[in-house]
């Protein structure tokens, strides 16, 4: 049982291509809905002050920190999580780039980092190092020192010709 005892309300959300209808407490965070109600544990929780970005997903095509949004706010929206990225068993170019460039160690920041990096490229298809670093300011990593993450984002930009 994921939730407490607030009176619930019904929401319908499309997540990674599948439509779900559930009754949720108004205070339930989107990240809790994804993890605890839908069992989509690929999206992670790393803090409680919206600093770390581990919970980053796409809502209607833009990156959002899912810990800073209520599930009820996602009613009617399309959400993409790390689990919805690969198509037909093929890794997304950003996932591939993270792997090639050793842009992850413990993996905890990785789903959020990948989701935000994709959003970054949608705005800046060919970013320089400075743009990448600023664009990832909201995603904390404790393992990699960020250098290989920057490399991965620029590699993905090159490999996908700017279209992600």
């Amino acid at each position: 049982m994921a939730q407490g005892t607030q009176a619930r309300t019904s929401i319908t959300v499309t997540v990674d291509g599948t439509e779900y209808t559930d009754d949720v407490e108004p205070r339930l965070l989107l990240v809790q809905y994804l993890r605890d109600v839908l069992g989509k544990t690929g999206t992670l929780i790393g803090c409680d002050t919206t600093n770390c970005g581990a919970c980053t997903v796409h809502v209607d095509g833009r990156s959002v920190k899912s810990c800073t949004m209520f599930a009820v706010q996602a009613d009617g929206a399309e959400v993409t999580t790390i689990e919805g990225l690969s198509r037909d068993g093929e890794l997304h170019p950003m996932q591939e780039a993270f792997h090639e460039c050793h842009a992850l160690q413990c993996g905890y920041c990785t789903p959020g980092m990948i989701m935000q990096s994709i959003d970054l490229l949608s705005e800046h298809p060919d970013p320089d190092e400075h743009t990448v670093r600023n664009g990832l300011e909201g995603n904390l990593c404790r393992c990699t020192g960020y250098q290989n993450i920057v490399k991965a984002v620029q590699t993905a930009a090159k490999n996908s010709g700017g279209v992600v």
């Binding site: 049982m1 994921a2 939730q3 407490g4 005892t5 407490e25 993890r35 069992g39 989509k40 544990t41 690929g42 999206t43 992670l44 929780i45 790393g46 803090c47 409680d48 002050t49 600093n51 770390c52 581990a54 999580t81 790390i82 689990e83 990225l85 690969s86 890794l91 996932q95 993270f98 792997h99 090639e100 050793h102 992850l104 160690q105 413990c106 993996g107 905890y108 920041c109 990785t110 789903p111 990948i114 190092e129 990448v132 670093r133 600023n134 990832l136 300011e137 909201g138 995603n139 904390l140 990593c141 404790r142 393992c143 990699t144 020192g145 960020y146 250098q147 290989n148 993450i149 920057v150």
Partner: protein, 793 residues
């Protein structure tokens, strides 16, 4: 002859599940009937618990039970400290749930067990605790003075005093004489601020009491040690307990612990008979997961006028916090052997007093004692250079152990096996553009530029590859430092390796696969590395202290070599040859001088069937090995930082960072660079951004990522990482370990760089972190106090 995997920058086996969201962090676990825990934590740093009223909480919706200290006083035992550094070490009892008093803000006083995490949290706010608050002691030096006691019943804040004296040890002279005879003595006091490891995955524990065994999934870097400690603390039979570390999101020493939360989870599960889960919030993690560093350091260094160092005297006060955690007391001692660094001293004395304060307890954090030591020696070498008017590199060159002097017995009783400080330094200087940057520095000085340039140096070595068991015994640590491995060849030729180390991001599956592929001549993809579950890996001493490759890797090599020996016996039988004529090369066992051969897979199938094996041969190739290192390993390196300091705003910017590190033979350069990058980020963060700050009532002010400044990508530049490779001679792989090196080296490089930019204004010292405010006020004070004619002329 297949191409060796050693030295190949292979991408990691670990990645696929982590980049696709198929990770298995502990909080994912859901079990039938599982209950959730919420902790009630003390808002006071020091208080008596007069009463707890949990009645409203107990009857709140979804609540199954509430545990208070009184409820578990007889069953919870005392959380263990495995390192009594002296026979008279003083320590208070360490309850998981406080019984009649609390000793730091965040200490657990009650636990709610409920049907959902939300219900548990809601009910936890209904618990009424009546505290009688007491005066806390919150300053290391005040604690040492014993006026206000952190634990009144203990009678003192001083836990233990530990001394190393080279004259007594026979490794050098007497310090007082050495300093008295020196032309120059520089005396300094440095401050190692309190830090928070801040791994990205908050700690989480799930306990299932419903099976025949008690199963504990937990976000730990020490599943084997944890299992043993929990059994000893709670009186559980070892053969009935299983600890599993699933995917673990970072540790850095911060998950090297036996935590109150783990103990409470077990107690709750046993009481309710149901699986129980606890996952902390980030705020709880910063508040109550153990902190790092926190020392006051007083040093005296002696030298002759020409710069030759003579003696080094170190006196530390180390802040234990409110309790002794698993290795809290030993962390400063690990650093005791490293204050002399890479230099040749005649005399050395080290004295450390561990003291209690009413704050979260400290324990291992990346480097554990060695960053503190390296910081102090590299700072004082720069201060000495300044005093003597010498270039800081020249001073180091004059005093470091020359390449041809290895192996070298140091004044602190260690034997460094190999090193090449000259090569690392020359390479670093070249990559850095040292001469050009010094010229730019001079230009900016002459022009009175608002932004000045400083060059920071750090030439370090460290002791890792924990550890030779006998040495740990001589230091009174409770366990040894060996590591265990088993290598199995399956009937179809797959290879399984069971290791007792416990990765949490380091890429061991990949590195070990490379080693085994190379050793057994099988493909990299054919090797499966099993770890982290005490049911699968029955024996081990886990991961910390940069030991996994140096000690764990060697155990794997030893086990693999046993497999080859067994296989040779079978091969000789299968090929009807003399065992002495069997040659093993790249997975093939051949007969010398013929083209007869048989593969490891064919041998394995034959052994499985056991239809025709040599007389007396046990039908198994599977082999164990336990490896106990003979010595520590000693990676080293030269780090150079170019710091730009704005002399008006105090802002400093790391413009360029170059390091050349020697970690011995490199198995996977991609992973080594990754460890260096990550280590640098944490070391630089100590210098520029992070500090765990308590206010005057003992509340943690830096209680979230808003205020505790873990750097983001925007706060750091890219680093230039170079390498030299001087193989270690104390293990057959020639490796030295790299996990902590970047962190150990970088902090003094940054601070030395900041000082180098602003010494000209009369600044001789600065505390960490070198925030803009701190730099600005340090400059201001120096300018005011100086009353000099002009500035930077």
């Amino acid at each position: 002859m297949t191409v060796t995997q050693i030295g190949a920058p292979l991408a990691r086996k670990e990645d696929q599940r982590l980049i696709t969201g198929r990770s298995r962090y502990t909080d994912n676990m859901v079990l039938p009937g599982m209950l959730h825990l919420a902790m009630v934590r003390s808002p006071f740093a020091h208080a008596k618990i007069e009463a707890i009223d949990a009645s409203e909480a107990k009857s709140a919706p979804g609540v199954i039970a509430v545990l208070t200290g009184n409820d578990v006083a007889d069953s919870q035992g005392s959380l263990p400290n495995a390192w009594p550094i002296t026979p008279d070490q003083q320590a208070p009892a360490h309850p998981a749930i406080a019984v009649d008093r609390v000793s730091f803000t965040g200490e657990i006083v009650a636990c709610v067990v409920a049907r959902s995490a939300a219900a548990a949290r809601d009910a936890s706010e209904l618990i009424d605790v009546d505290y009688d608050d007491l005066e806390p002691v919150l300053d290391i030096e005040q604690a040492a003075a014993d006026d206000v006691l952190a634990h009144p019943d203990l009678g003192t804040n001083r836990s233990a005093t530990w001394v190393f004296d080279s004259a007594e040890a026979g490794t050098g002279g007497a310090i007082d004489q050495s300093l008295a005879d020196s032309d120059v003595v520089v005396e300094r006091a440095y401050h190692q601020q309190r830090l928070i490891p801040a791994f990205m995955e908050p700690r989480s524990t799930v306990v299932d009491p419903t099976g025949e065994q008690l199963t504990i999934w937990t976000s730990t870097q020490v599943p084997h040690i944890l299992k043993l400690m929990l059994c000893m603390t709670l009186g559980l039979p070892e053969s009935k307990v299983r600890v599993v570390a699933p995917d673990v999101g970072g540790g850095f020493g911060g998950k090297l612990q036996v935590t109150p939360e783990e103990v409470i989870c077990i107690l709750a599960a046993r009481q309710t008979g149901k699986p129980c889960k606890f996952t902390e919030t980030r705020s709880e993690s910063l508040l109550a997961a153990h902190h790092g560093r926190a020392q006051v350091q007083k040093l005296r260094i002696g030298a002759s006028r020409d710069g030759t160092v003579t003696g080094l005297d170190v006196r530390l006060l180390a802040d234990m916090g409110a309790y002794l955690g698993l290795v809290t007391s030993g962390v400063p001692i690990l650093g005791a052997f490293m204050f002399n660094g890479i230099y040749k001293f005649d005399a050395y004395r080290f004295e450390c007093t561990n003291v209690f304060t009413n704050r979260a307890w400290t324990d291992a954090y990346r480097g554990a004692g060695r960053p503190e030591a390296t910081y102090a020696i590299e700072r004082i070498m720069d201060d000495l250079a300044d005093e003597l008017g010498m270039d800081p590199i020249d001073l180091r060159r004059k005093n470091w152990i020359a390449h041809e002097e290895f192996p070298y017995s140091t004044v602190s009783s260690l034997e460094y096996d190999t090193g090449n400080y000259e090569a690392a330094t020359d390479k670093a200087l070249e990559l850095f553009g040292y001469d050009e940057l010094r010229a730019e520095q001079q230009r900016r000085r002459s022009n009175n530029d608002q932004v000045q340039l400083g060059i920071g140096v750090s030439t370090f070595t460290e002791m890792c590859g924990l550890a030779p068991s006998r040495v740990l015994g001589s230091l009174d640590y409770g366990a040894g430092g060996w590591e265990h491995a088993q290598v199995r060849v399956l009937p179809t030729g797959n290879v399984e390796v069971v290791t007792g180390v416990s990765p949490h991001g380091q890429g061991h599956e990949t590195t070990f696969s490379q080693i085994v592929a190379d050793r057994l001549g099988v493909s990299f993809d054919n090797v499966e590395i099993l770890h982290g579950d005490t049911q699968v890996s029955q024996k081990g001493l886990d991961t910390y202290g940069s030991r996994s490759l140096t000690v764990g890797g060697m155990a794997i090599v030893a086990a693999a070599d046993k497999v080859i020996e067994k296989a040779k016996t079978v091969a000789a039988h299968m090929l009807e040859a003399d065992r002495d004529d069997i040659e093993f090369d790249s997975g093939n066992f051949g007969v010398q001088g013929t083209d007869k051969s048989v593969t490891l897979a064919e041998i394995s199938l034959s052994v499985f069937a056991a239809h025709d094996l040599p007389d007396g041969f046990e039908p198994s190739l599977d082999s164990d090995a336990t490896f106990d290192p003979e010595n520590f390993s000693f990676p080293h390196g030269t780090h150079l930082a170019a710091m730009e300091v704005d002399t008006v705003t105090g802002e400093s910017r790391l413009r360029k960072y170059v390091c050349v590190d020697d970690v011995g033979n490199v198995i996977n350069p991609l992973l080594v660079d990754g460890q260096v990058h990550g280590g640098l980020a944490q070391g630089i963060a100590q210098a520029l951004f992070e500090e765990a700050v308590y206010d005057e009532t003992g509340n943690l002010v830096t209680g979230s990522f808003v205020d505790y400044l873990v750097p983001s990508a925007a706060d750091l530049p890219s680093f230039t990482t170079g390498r030299t490779e001087t193989p270690s001679t104390t293990n057959a792989l020639g490796v030295k370990g790299v996990g902590e090196a970047g962190t150990i080296a970088s902090t003094p490089a940054i601070v030395n760089g900041v000082l180098d930019a602003i010494r000209q204004f009369g600044v001789s010292d600065i505390d960490m972190p070198c925030s803009p405010y701190r730099v600005w006020s340090t400059l201001n004070e120096a300018r005011t106090a100086g009353a000099q004619t002009g500035v930077a002329q």
